[in-house]
Amino acid sequence: MDYIFHIGIIFAIFGILALAQNLVMGMTGLLTIAGAAFYGIGAYVTGILAINFGWNIIPLLIIAPIVAGLIALLVGMVFARFRDDYFMLGTLGFLMIFHTVVRNWESLTGGAYGIAGIPKPHIFGFTFGTPASFVWLTFFCLAIVVTICYFISRSSFGRVLNAIREDEDALKIFGYSTSKYKLIAFVLGGAMSAVSGVLIASYITFIDPNLFSINESILLWAIIILGGISRNRGALLGAFLLITIPEALRFVGFPDEFAALLRQCIYGLLLVVLVLYRPKGIWGIYKL
């Protein structure tokens, strides 16, 4: 049963990430590689504050999104004017900067060795020490993020984001400052991605730079495209399929070291197949 709970936890964590990045990529049409960076920022804020200052899960779930949101604001103020390829290149640059900082600022981040011994979260004396208990925490956070994302997608703000995705220049003519809308979407996406970082750091109690590489950003692209761009339920479906299906490889008999590599191949191959034959994904409205 612990294995099932573990799958559920990983699904919830990546579900939150996918919803957050779907807001930026799917709804607004901003091609971003920065998802892994904000995921990492949430995790590193957790590791640093939990180990050095004994911070617990509730304040971490508040402060990590705030820190990630502020960084997203600074980054977004530069990039919100860009579009398409230039925006993507800018976010790739940001991801590279994030990696350089976490690998080299050893006194703060542990460098290439990462941060180990992150304490398990506890609330009112109860410790979420087992997968059976931790899964409740992750699904609670997932429920909150789902609520926020559905609220946004059904609001006037969400309607404007969709219009930006459709034709930003035409929308501007009607008096919209589209840069502001894109910036806010980017900030919200970054802040929500950090929630995933808090959860993964608290669950596996160890983080290093390799957990937040471009591979994770590509995985997020695959999740969002597979499930269906711009749809919240598409992001959740994509996360469910791309977390559970590779886990099935464990039962096929591949050695663990090959299973990990094969997983990367599957994600890459899936992206190619989707782009060729099903660019809108399973439940999507838009092509990438």
């Binding site: 609001s155 404007v160 969709n162 459709e166 034709d167 220049d169 035409a170 003519i173 009607f174 008096g175």
Partner: protein
């Protein structure tokens, strides 16, 4: 004129002058070619002004500059006698101007209803985040859809309706903007007579409401029917202007535009 934006809003609302829009020595070039060449024209408040000329005469470029789609290179533009140094589309709501596009630009994957509703939305993103469309917005959207005969299609995606209906939806967005100055770029192109009549009636109603209309059109019959004033451009310059019947019979216009 160093007016703040909110003060300009008041100026534009109470403007009582004759010319609501003026250009002085306006220039816009592309790759060294003057698409608009030292153009000085004005548009009378509350009238329908036709803008005609051969292809490449600068008509759409002028509308693009006036709506902020392109920046102009030099010259001056006055809105309600207020000089606009830099025309930015985000200020269009304040300066009370909107437009349609020569090539239809709707939000195709959004519903017909949402294409109207997005125009009625708060422009400030924080207010839009918490806005709940009240009865006024919803009723206004429904009223517009019924006026343009698209109420039955309100839940369909804008990309799936017919060409004529898409043209009408563009008109609907203009109605939703409810500005004093409206720039129509070939709104009748490729339409059946029934839809042409519908759009003509809407434009006439807008004039009766006191709106200022600038209409790019190639159909001279429509120009004669609708326009109070006519401006003819050629190679980015003013060729002739005045009463439509008089202008269309001038030799210089016939030579340049009609090839006679």
């Amino acid at each position: 004129m160093g007016h703040k934006l909110k003060d300009k809003k008041i100026l534009i609302k109470i403007f009582n002058g004759m010319y609501i829009l003026e250009t002085k020595n306006l220039i816009k070039s592309f790759g060294g070619v003057h698409a608009i060449d030292h153009l000085s024209i004005n548009f009378q408040k509350g009238k329908i002004t036709g803008l005609v000329g051969p292809n490449g005469s600068g008509k759409t470029t002028l509308i693009n500059v006036l709506s902020g789609f392109f920046p102009h290179d030099s010259g001056t533009v006055f809105f309600s006698e207020t000089k606009r140094k830099k025309i930015q589309p985000k200020d269009n709501q304040v300066y009370n101007i909107t437009r349609t596009f020569q090539q239809i630009r709707l939000f195709d994957k959004m519903s017909v209803f949402d294409n109207i509703l997005v125009i009625l939305t708060e422009r400030d993103p924080f207010l839009a985040l918490f806005e709940r469309h009240n009865e006024y917005h919803l009723n206004r959207a429904i009223e517009i859809l019924k006026k343009i005969d698209l109420y039955e299609k309100r839940n369909e995606n804008a990309g799936s309706i017919s060409y004529g209906q898409r043209k009408l939806l563009e008109i609907g967005r203009v109605l939703a903007m409810n500005t004093n100055i409206i720039l129509f770029d070939e709104p009748f192109a490729g339409l059946f007579p029934e839809i042409i009549k519908k759009i003509e009636d809407i434009i006439k109603e807008l004039r009766e409401e006191g709106k200022t209309i600038i209409l790019i059109e190639h159909n001279m019959s429509i120009i004669r029917t609708l326009c109070d004033h006519l401006i003819v451009l050629d190679a980015g310059k003013l060729l002739a202007e005045g009463n439509p019947e008089k202008v269309l019979s001038e030799k210089i216009v016939l030579e340049a535009y009609l090839g006679e």
